[in-house]
Symmetry: C2
Subunit: 161 residues, 2 copies
Amino acid sequence: MITPPHPELDLAVSRIIKAPRSTVWQAWTDPSRFEQWWVPAPEVCRVREMDLRPGGSFRTEISQDGIVFGPHITGCFLAVDELERIVFTDALIAGWRPSEASFVSAVITMKEHPDGTEYTATAMHRNVADRDRHEQLGFHDGWGTVTRQLAELVESRAQTS
Amino acid sequence: MITPPHPELDLAVSRIIKAPRSTVWQAWTDPSRFEQWWVPAPEVCRVREMDLRPGGSFRTEISQDGIVFGPHITGCFLAVDELERIVFTDALIAGWRPSEASFVSAVITMKEHPDGTEYTATAMHRNVADRDRHEQLGFHDGWGTVTRQLAELVESRAQTS
């Protein structure tokens, strides 16, 4: 948990991940690896669309039992800067079309760090009410958990490779 | 008026402008020229922010009398491809933050044409109701009028230069 640039509107988590930035980037951009950490276990994630370019569709689904899946993220990417930054939102869907339900834009950054990668995820909201609601819905627990899952996935890979 | 790729959700206007693409591009991206055509005369436009890059703020104001101005567009740019394409939305504001009021994303394209520039503006909506509302609010008259104003501005410039 860190203080984002606009703390009244935004929420952020940050973690030093002990793996090279390229490994973290791959865990984000390869759907088969992404599904392994994007939702808190034991819930299961399925990537429906991950079109990594501005305006490209980003759709994930979530399941309690791995059989019945419901919507999770329905949005689009806004910026994809190799090894450095991924920005997405649920305010727009594929092709930048306005979405039916807008809540958050997220900026993911990956920076070189002496111990590996400094990974930060910032969630931006339209107003204080949405920011506070997101916090009450368990932002820090949820985003913190999946960031830990990401770290565990790539750190075990870094040690065994 | 043309038929957009998703006619049930989108609205579009297109016009052959008898001026080089670079002149049309400049009339779009230079705020002092942009203000001369962006709202139907005799209403007056003022550009508050035009940060032409993905995530950059796009804010215009409108006035009946040139003295008292109210909000017009409050959004951000999503793509800026020199001489070719500008995409913006009011679903997000500066820095890609979700906006308070989301209605439309717009794709402006400029293509080479034997007589000058083929200029197309497509408005994308989240659903049929919003698309129909935009049409009833006078999309074709409004966007058609300002596209004509743009053409008249740059065509007179093309003839006198």
